[in-house]
Structure formats: C-alpha cells, structure tokens
Symmetry: C2
Subunit: 391 residues, 2 copies
DNA sequence: CGCGTTTAGTCTTGTCGTGAAACTTATATC
DNA sequence: GATATAAGTTTCACGACAAGACTAAACGCG
C-alpha cells in the first residue's frame, strides 16, 4: 500500500491531497485508504494547522500507541533491546555490556529474549507487537531462521527463532538479520520508512572486525545470506600480514582495532584515540594510521568501483579515528575511484548510536507493516477481541 | 503482468492451468489474460501434444512474428546489430569489424544506426518494432540518454538518443546501456525472460580492459549509471604497476590483455593463447599467468565478499586463458572468500558469443514488454490501422 | 463400444477496488 | 458578507478478479 509509505516518508507533512498527488491516485481513493489506515491505528491525523487559501488539509503522521516493534541485538560486547513505535520513537530500551565472545549461544539468546520481555514490559501497555527481530553479527539463513556462523561470537549453526517463539504468532512476525545491515538501515532512515539524506552509500562499521553494508537506492543490499559487505576481508596487500580468516593482507589485518593497537605499540584503545587526536602523534602511531587509512581507501575504492557508489559513511572505531584517517583515505579514493571526476566521492562520519543494530532490527518490523499494511489491517479485524480488551 | 513472465520463463511448457498454479490466480482469470495476450500477438498457442489423463492443455509460447526488438552495440573493435523476436530467435544480424578507438562518436553512431536499419530490412516484414537499444562500453546517463564517458572509445558526453530518433515513437522505445550489463543479461537469460541455470554471479568480461557485471537474483546490478562492475580497477597490489587510470596495482594492469602480452614478452595474442595451452609454457609466460590468476582471484574475492556471491563466470580474453588461470584463481578464492566453507565458489567459463552486448541490448526491449504487457496491448489497440495494413 | 473419470478451459455471476465528477466544508481575500 | 480556492466526501459506474458451475477432450475400464 503506497499510501502508508508516502505518509511515513514525510511524517506530519502530507495531507490526503498531497498523498494523492504523490501517488497518482485520486483524492477519493486516497481518502478511503487513509480512513482505513486511521481506523486500523496505523496513521493518525495531526491538527489542521495549515496556512493558505482554501480548506486546510489534515496532516497525517504514523500513529503512536497502537503498534510497537521489538528489536534485539546480541553482539560481541553487549546485548541490546529496543521497543519503538511506528514513528520510530524509542518507548523503552535496555543495554547490557558483557563480553559474549565464546559464550553459549542458546544461553545468551535466552538472556536476550528475557531482556526483550523486560523492555516490552517497560513500554506503555496496550499496543500490539508487530514483530520481534534479532540482529546478529554473522551469516544468516533467513528462511530457516538459523545463524549459520558468527565468527566473533564463536557461534555456528544456531537456531534463533525458537528463542523468539514466545512472541511468534499469526499477528507477530519474528526474524533475524545481519547486524551491519540493520545498522545501515538506521543510517538510511532516520525514522522507519523515512528516507534520510543519503540514498546510496557504503557504511563501514568497525567493531571488533570491520564490516560494511551497502545501501542502494534506499534499499539495504544484504546479499542472499546477509553476508554481503565483508569489507574487512577485502585484500589490500597480497604481501600483507596474515588475517584471522587465514588469508593474507585483509583490510581488517591492517586497519582493525587490534591491528592498530599492535602497530602503534599501545594496548588501550582510548589512549590510542586520544593520541591520534593530538597535534603531533609519535611516528609509530602516525605510520600505523597512514597505513590503515591507505588500506581503507583501497578497500573502499574496490567497493565503490564495483557498485557505482560515491558516498562512504564511517562508523564504529573508524569513526573515532576519522580525522586522522581521512587524508590517506581520500588520497586513495581520489586516485582510484573511476567515477570520481564525474561525481566526487564524499566521506562522512557517523558516530555510532548505541546498538544501532537493535534499532535497525526493530525497523524491520515496521518495514513489513509498510510493505503490506492491508495484511495487518486484516489481522486486526480478525481478532477484534484483543483491541476490545484494551479499551 | 505476471502471466507473460511465467510463460516466457518456461516457453512451450506452461499451459493456462500451469500458469494459474504458478501465479496463484484462478484459471478463469488466467484464461482471460492469456486470450488478450494471444490476441495481442504476444503469446502463441502450441499444438496440444500432452500425454496423460484428462483434457490435454494447450502449451503457450512467446509469439513469433508480431514483435521484434533491435539491439545495437558500438565497441572498440566492432559494430554489431541484432534483430530478435520475442522467443529470442535471431531474425537478422550484422557484424562489422573496425577499430573504433578514437573515432568520431557521432559519425560512428550514425553508421551504427544505418547498420541497424539494414538489419531491420533483412528481418521479415510486418513485425512491430518494440524497441531500439544501444550497448556502449562506458558510463551512461539513462535519463538523459547520454554516454558520459567511454574511455576505450575515447568518447565523452555523447548524446546517443538522437541517433535512434528514426525509431523513437510512442510505440517504440529507445535507450542505451552499459555493454557489460547487456552481455551479463544474455548469460543470466538464454532467451528473453527465460532464467538460466545461474541466478546470481559475477561475470568478468575481458575485452581490452577488464569489466564485470553482477547479476543478483536474475537482476543485473547496473548501479546508478551503469558504471558498476569496474573489477578491472580493483586494486590487487598497492605496489603494483601503474594502470592507465593513473592508480597503482589495478587488476587490469596485471591481467589485462596488454599487460599479459608485455609480461610474457609476446606481441600476438593468439600466440600467447596457444602457448598457454601448450603443456610446458616458458617461465616468463608461466609467471605472467600465475600472477594474473592470483590477481584475478584477489579481485574476485573482493567482489564475492562484498556481494555475498559464490559464482564466477569468466568471459572474453580471460575465458580463452581459463585453463591456465584457473588454478591460481581458485587458490585465492578458496583462501579469501569467507562464505566458501558454506557454499563453495564455482568458476565457470563462458566463451563469448559474438557481440553479446548487442544481443543483450535487444533483450532489454523484450524486458520492457514483459514488465508491462498491458501497455503494449493498449498501444496496439490505439493504432489498429498499422495492424490492418499488414493484413 | 460406451460410460465414468480426470483434467483443461470457458462462462456466469457477485464482489470489491477504483476513478470521475459532483458535492460539501473550511479557510482566505476582497 | 460574497466569492474564490483548496481539501475532503459522496455517489455512481466501470472493470478486474474469484468462485463455482459448466463444457470439452482425453484416458481407462467393463
């Protein structure tokens, strides 16, 4: 249903007449559809506050209160949980710091599910849970609901959906996705269904390793298993150091967090960041940063050339070092990206929100609503007792 | 219209009832739509030749005769032109060998258009021209109809559509596309709309440089300007030789045709290919081939890791050397592609058809038909005099 | 040979979604 | 207060589709 997407894309700005103009449908059709969506609790009417000649239109917004989505994330250093409403407002959240590398997958996922249940309990009651979605740092089989492998967690072949079973129903969908793809979604969309400034870009996330995710035309290019975007294992030097993956010269082995610590002779990350920001870093650090910047530029050039992109967003630990890295990165990009003369490559920095993966996972639930609001409305109608019980 | 796509995907196999089963529509709806398509000359009924119980169904196929598409290609070494019908059968073709590097763009495109006109004259008369599409080796602005830059031809900022103006009309669409993307389309689809064995893969085309094109789920990933797939300028060695693009260590500078000739001390390509196939090549050649194979493997690993793919198709000059290159390519892929343990990387070789770009350009016209057959049917109805004149 | 079974395709009917156009409502301007 | 303008609603007619009955064409068994 195009109507809901149009409203979510410009919350509070579009009236029925605007939607009609944007979608090409007639005002009468839009009016009927909007009335359904309002009745179903998906859209809400703002106060008519418009100025100008003629009858003022009624601005439409995503409706608060009726629907929420739960987003969960298990990552190397934390568990996170978000409950958001249709407008993308965070109604409740939890964040637990813990070293989960090598942890027992089922035990950790059970903890995560409990965390999600607590978060839901914190949220205002009476709303219908659209979806419960998990973001995980690894390869995923969407259809089977299995995490195939998460190297940094040390997990493999984990059936994830059973842990979400408490929420799974005809009316609540559950699923799992790659964490970097979820995070990229939050950059492409400041609010669910609301396209941001950037339409197509590569997002580089430095966490422990270096992952990336590509957004093309507002769509996350997740690949068939959510395994796309392994920028960290693009080769930047065939004679370079051996990487944890067994190959030689991966980006991660040069610009990864551990590689930078080792090359600069430091053992505390915050110290390294502070020193890198200082006016005159010592030669070992400067060399390590230059080398990492060049490597990042080389790997990014490959991605941009292969995908016809011209925008890079740095996140994670690479964002913290952005000032120090950017000159070398730019130099490589300017030399290597073929479309550069026509469309200059832009590099921007995104200081990572806390657990963007969990937030993006919650976005997924709303995305399924937007893809087919009629289905949710039908479900709504088929179980009116639930709504009645709340009233 | 899903119906036409289903039939084109299995020409001669699907009956109305099969289509109904495949699309989920009822038999009555399918029957009505198929009747329209048959009346419109898009589908044709085969002889009912089915065995088994019950009334035999009528197999459906793309209709020959009523519609044709013209595909043109201007490339460094040739001009080519194809006229195909809906089933993908070549009704007429032309191929002119010529060195067009540095030629005058408008003069060459005028020649190409004339070649297309000749080809159309060769084809059986009475068919309606669906589209005229040009494949060019460079960056393209689809909307403006402009070739932004084709380095190997030495062209830039060329308005292409005016050369196709003789065919442009309400009923005949014209357009232009990147040549590698068109060629990849012919690999993904043995006939228009007919999906082949491979669903997602990277096609590497070695012509003068090294280009590539990615097919994801049957769709060509062309990027915003048809500029995606610049595998030739992925860096495989930051200390490598300087490439024509100005950067250092591009794949093309190691595994390009000229690079291989230079490194092996030869000046004739056919000799090089023959020597490479011989049981015991000389050390210089063997070293050049190994180096090129490793470089290709490194660049491909980057593409596969970034896009979550596990199939490579070699074409062009790299296909000719496939036997000699494959061991080194495989070695790198096996080490570097992260999804390898789960889904082994497959490398296949596609000996390039003559001018696959032109053929793929013709496919585009049929793709537009399949995307919205109703539009073409409507046009048909609005100009019945043309059809009447043929009868 | 004839009749029932099975499957393909068509025909009829009712429902639903949509657009066209008239109508109502709410504001600004004169 | 009259008029213009724009938003939103109502009415009506049309068309696409599904459900289900019906016809057509093959096979197989008695």
């Amino acid at each position: 249903m195009l109507v809901a997407q149009a409203v979510f894309a410009r919350p509070g700005e579009f009236t029925r007449a605007d939607v009609a103009g944007a979608t090409g449908m007639t005002r009468s059709t839009v009016s009927r559809l909007v009335d359904q969506l309002v009745a179903g609790g998906i859209l809400a009417e703002d106060d008519p506050a418009q100025r100008g000649r003629g009858r003022p239109g009624v601005p439409l917004r995503p409706a608060p209160g009726t629907f929420v989505a739960l987003g969960l994330e298990a990552n190397v250093g934390h568990l996170a949980s978000y409950v958001i409403d249709l407008a993308g407002r965070v109604l409740a959240r939890r964040f637990v710091t813990d070293d989960l590398a090598g942890s027992d997958a089922d035990a950790t996922l059970a903890r995560l599910a409990d965390l999600g249940a607590e978060t839901l309990a914190d949220a205002p009651a009476g709303a219908h849970l659209l979806s419960a979605h998990v973001a995980l740092p690894g390869i995923v089989d969407h259809d089977a609901g299995v995490l195939l492998r998460a190297p940094n967690l040390g997990w493999s072949q984990v059936a994830v959906l059973p842990h979400l079973a408490r929420w799974a129903s005809e009316r609540t969908l559950t699923g799992l996705d790659n964490e970097a793809d979820c995070a990229a979604l939050t950059i492409a969309q400041p609010a669910p269904g609301y396209p941001g400034d950037l339409d197509s870009f590569v997002y580089v996330s430095g966490n422990v390793g270096i992952g990336s995710s590509t957004v093309l035309g507002g769509q996350v290019l997740a690949g068939r298993h959510g395994w796309a975007g392994e920028l960290g294992h693009v080769c930047v030097d065939p004679d370079g150091p051996v990487c944890g993956c067994g190959a030689r010269g991966c980006l991660e082995a040069v610009a990864g967090r551990r590689a930078l610590l080792a090359a600069s002779g430091r053992d505390d990350w915050d110290v390294l960041v502070a020193d890198a920001a200082a006016p005159d870093p010592d030669p070992a650090l400067a060399a390590a940063l230059t080398r990492a910047g060049r490597a990042l530029g080389i790997a990014l050039s490959a991605a941009l050339n292969l995908l016809d992109l011209s925008h890079v967003v740095l996140g994670g630990h690479l964002a913290e070092l952005a000032d120090a890295l950017t000159p070398a990165v730019r130099a490589e990009l300017d030399t290597r990206v073929l479309s550069g003369p026509f469309e200059p490559v832009q590099v921007s920095v995104r200081t990572a929100a806390e657990a963007p993966g969990a937030l993006g996972a919650a976005y997924h639930g709303i995305a399924t609503l937007l893809a087919d609001p009629a289905r949710v409305l039908a479900d709504e109608a088929s179980e009116p007792d639930a709504a009645a019980a709340q009233a």
